[in-house]
């Protein structure tokens, strides 16, 4: 097992060239917090990006930060805090949910490669919406860049979108440029009691049909709500977060309470609650597999109904019902979730945490339709024809 610890893209290029020659498959790692995502693979070597760190340039007034891929999210967060700004997609700390031990928030490269976003994704966009540009070495061993360092740019193909969520299978990024935004002055969360899941989805839809600008919306079943300290003695609670300047947030929460009732969540409780919701980290009572399901919000209740009849599951929803975090065991659950998704207009199911050997029996990522799979293979070949980088991590042969 060879471990390459590059300090710059020239070193990465050398490592890729070496692997090309010796027909090796290399794993790309920085913080290692997301190694549990995707298929179980063995590699011939590792490119460890943990020495490629540092904030290269940060211009808060331009809303632009350039940072090296191996930089810890703690360091990124500290710089943002200092300028009173944020990454609006609310990158969650996945360490706890992924059960990798420790509390490391991982690296910015890992967050972008996995396209991981938190609760504000619903209204502000995903990680992929905030990657303005990058510089990388492809699996061909060639240095290339895409995008730019300004917030508005349509020059050439938007390869940033492709890099986000490609799990290191196309290229190894070094410097990445992100769009930053001012942090809201304050936030306030409102909890509304509902009898069942579909009523919670409908309530949230009604909240989003007002001009009061909700920013995030989750649905917690009673047990989870109680444990998080936001229970209302109802079967479910809808949790709605509003952000902005103080007088605006107060005013909007007031309007919503007049219309929908509900209670305001204690401020001290609100922040950690949304951190846990963002990270899918509320289904952790017992060690179970954790599934992440994205679907149209109006389909979520039907999926839950079918699945909870047949399996012992723990679950909650984010993104107004469009994101389900489901804890439960066995690959049959995954199969049935995928069958349920097939009946929706669109969506996908990914296995996020495997506490047993579920991945031996089911693909962790949603299998692709044949035509889409063929296109994925051609895209992979366009960047990494010898399959040097994270080969097979997402899908067989990719």
């Amino acid at each position: 097992m060879t471990e390459f610890i590059p300090t710059n893209l020239d070193d990465v290029k050398d490592a890729v060239e070496y692997a090309k020659t010796h027909r090796q498959h290399l794993e790309i790692v920085a913080g290692g917090t997301k190694q549990g995502l995707g298929r179980n693979m063995t590699f011939d070597g590792v490119i460890n990006l943990s020495k490629m760190t540092g904030i290269v340039d940060y211009q808060p007034e331009e809303l632009v930060m350039s940072v090296r891929a191996g930089t810890s999210m703690d360091d990124v967060q500290a710089a943002l805090d200092n300028a009173n700004q944020m990454l609006a997609f609310e990158p969650p700390n996945m360490s706890l949910a992924l059960s990798r031990g420790g509390k490391s928030p991982g690296t910015i490269g890992g967050v972008m490669a996995a396209n991981i976003s938190g609760s504000r994704r619903l209204t502000a966009g995903a990680a992929r919406d905030f990657l303005l540009g990058f510089e990388a070495i492809s699996g061909r061993g060639e240095n290339f860049k895409s995008g730019g360092k300004v917030v508005k740019n349509v020059t050439g193909y938007d390869l940033s979108k492709l890099m986000c969520g490609s799990f290191g299978t196309l290229a190894v990024m070094d410097e990445i440029t992100l769009k930053t935004l001012p942090r809201p002055e304050t936030s306030c969360s409102l909890i509304i009691a509902t009898d069942d899941f579909s009523q919670a989805v409908a309530t949230i839809a009604s909240v989003f049909a007002t001009p009061h600008e909700p920013g995030a919306a989750a649905i917690l079943p009673r047990a989870i709500a109680d444990k998080a300290g936001v229970g209302l003695n109802s079967n479910f609670v809808a949790v709605i977060r509003l952000e902005g300047i103080l007088i605006s947030v107060r005013d909007r929460v007031g309007h919503l309470q007049t219309k929908f009732g509900g209670e305001i969540v204690k401020h001290a409780l609100s922040h950690p609650l949304w951190q846990s919701i963002s990270a899918g980290n509320l289904c952790d009572d017992s060690p179970r597999d954790l599934w992440k399901l994205s679907c149209p919000p109006s389909d979520a209740a039907g999926i839950i109904e079918v699945i909870s009849d047949r399996y012992d599951i723990e679950y909650f929803a984010d993104w107004a019902g469009g994101l389900l975090w489901i804890g439960g065991n066995g690959h049959a659950l995954g199969n049935d979730l995928r069958l349920a998704i097939d009946k929706c207009a669109s969506g996908f199911v990914h296995l996020i945490r495997d506490v047993g050997a579920t991945k031996d029996k089911i693909e962790p990522f949603q299998p692709l339709a044949p035509s889409i799979y063929a296109l994925h293979q051609r895209v992979k070949a366009a960047f990494d024809p010898l399959a040097v980088l994270n080969f097979g991590r997402m899908h067989y042969g990719i």
């Binding site: 050398d14 300004v150 050439g156 938007d158 390869l159 979108k161 839809a205 989003f208 895209v379």
Partner: protein, 495 residues
């Protein structure tokens, strides 16, 4: 601008090809008489004109797929076209290519308030989406200036923005799903009413690909509740640098306005002559800053912004007290292009982006280029996101002036890249900026982009001659050099 040499053998077969197309789609869907094809010989970049081989206006997705499959099998090129409003020549026809018009796909298919989205065909205009959901308080955020005419398929192809994209994003940030047809005639669905790709974000790559990767046949768009209140400030400065700093100060204060526009002296006066918007004629720079949201928030932020611009040296400040007054503030800005068209026989509109802090340098550079080329330039500017729209004034009837104006424009875009910016913020590369791509990108960068193209369209049949200055054959791009395989840094310990 040189287009790829048309294939004479294809042109010679024009009548046979048109006849065959009439067997694939209903006869009424094929236009092949020279007179009728004239309507399609240019897009918004009207200094370039070219008759296509034939125009096909399909009526169903199956027909699109059949036409593309046949063209692919027979090596015939295709130029997709929406409403033809591109400012960069993205829909400029080619003499040896079928022009595939999506104009008949003009239906909104589904308005889904439960999931806050609209499903529409690609020929629906941008504004029609907002109109369709207006009564229920919703709208579609991207608002390119051509929104009454431009179509959604074109918006996806160009990743269109608009004056409000500072706060609400471009098309790519408001698009949930597409259906597309590949050059092989295969129908693919990417995304949908759910969020995120879960795999390679091919929809993200399709967005802004300028018709080179596939033809969009359906879109799913995110819709938002219309902000309760919109108010604007109209702020004059006697110095462009001060206006530029004011823009930075607003953002540094944590405020993201819905729109933040700047105009220079020449543009202010042209617009005022045209629209009587009450602009301060003596100002060197004018800002329009629009805030939107709940009334209490907008009122509070308006007064914060007022303080910021006053501290930055504003010489005049007006705050809209009604929607009518706000519309008037915008009337001048929105008529800036025709207004400039009135003071000059012709103009070229450029579209680079720079880091905002470089604005004063850019204004100095533009003044000196204006002297060098002996041509005037009026500036309108999406100031919030650094997107410049210099309008170069010229007279095409004067020999050599068009070329001089184009050289001037190229120098401006070179300066954008040199200052850390990019060639195009929202109009696209098309044919207009194709030959400048080498300024922003290395040969390796461009080759990697073209390899992606090869994954979608290995024979370069879709919209060739656009975006990329050199067309490399996919076989050549795919060649891989493997070095002898020495261990890098053999002296270093590995573990």
């Amino acid at each position: 601008m040189l287009m790829p040499e048309p294939d004479q053998r294809v042109i010679d077969r024009r009548h046979t090809i048109a006849a065959t197309l009439k067997t694939i789609v209903p006869k009424r869907c094929v236009i092949d008489s020279v007179e009728s094809m004239r309507a399609y010989d240019a897009d918004g970049l009207s200094s370039y004109r070219q008759l296509p081989l034939a125009v096909v206006l399909p009526e169903t997705v199956a027909q699109i797929a059949a036409v593309m499959k046949w063209c692919h099998a027979n090596g015939i090129k295709i130029v997709p076209r929406g409403a033809g409003t591109s400012l960069s020549g993205g829909a400029l026809p080619l003499a040896d290519a079928v022009l595939l018009g999506l104009g008949k796909f003009n239906k909104i298919l589904d308005i889904d308030y439960d999931n806050r989205c609209v499903v529409a065909q690609p020929g629906v205009t941008n504004l029609a989406v907002s109109e369709a959901v207006k009564a229920d308080g919703y709208y579609y955020a991207p608002d390119p200036s051509s929104q009454i005419a431009c179509s959604l398929g074109g918006n996806v192809a160009e990743n269109s923005g608009g004056v409000h994209c500072l706060k609400y994003g471009l098309t790519t940030n408001n698009l949930l799903g597409i259906e597309m047809v590949t050059i092989e005639g295969e129908i693919l669905r990417l995304g949908g009413k759910h969020l995120d790709a879960g795999d390679y974000d091919l929809m993200g790559v399709m967005t802004g690909s300028e018709g080179l990767l596939g033809v969009v046949t359906e879109v799913t768009l995110r819709i938002l509740q219309k902000p309760a209140t919109q108010r604007a400030l109209l702020v004059g400065f006697d110095d462009v640098t001060a206006a530029g700093s004011a823009v930075g100060d607003v953002i540094a204060a944590g405020i993201i306005p819905a729109g933040m526009e700047m105009m220079d002296g020449l543009a202010i006066n042209a617009a005022e002559d045209f629209a009587n918007a009450g602009y301060p004629r003596s100002a060197a720079a004018l800002l329009i800053i629009e805030l939107d949201g709940p009334k209490i928030e907008v009122d509070a932020l308006i007064s914060r912004v007022e303080t910021i611009v006053r501290d930055a040296g504003a010489t005049s400040i007006k705050i809209s007290q009604s929607d009518k007054e706000r519309d008037l503030f915008w009337a001048g800005r929105k008529s800036a292009f025709p207004a400039v068209g009135r003071i000059s026989p012709d103009y070229l509109c450029m579209d680079g982006t720079i880091p905002r802090r470089r604005l004063p340098d850019m204004m100095i550079r533009m003044a000196s280029l204006s002297q060098k080329y002996g041509l005037r330039v009026a500036n309108v500017f999406h100031a919030g996101d650094g997107n410049l729209h210099p309008l170069i004034l010229f007279d095409a009837n004067q020999p050599g002036e068009l070329e001089r104006a184009e050289d001037f424009g190229a120098d401006i875009l070179r300066s954008c890249v040199e200052m850390g910016g990019v060639l195009t913020g929202e109009h696209g590369v098309g044919v207009e900026k194709r030959d400048l791509m080498g300024i922003q990108f290395t040969e390796e960068d461009l080759k990697q982009q073209q390899r992606l193209k090869c994954a979608f369209d290995a024979d370069h049949l879709l919209n060739p001659g656009k975006v990329f200055p050199h067309l490399h054959r996919c076989a050549e791009l795919g060649r891989l050099h493997v070095h002898k395989g020495k261990m890098p840094h053999p002296d270093l310990p590995r573990f």
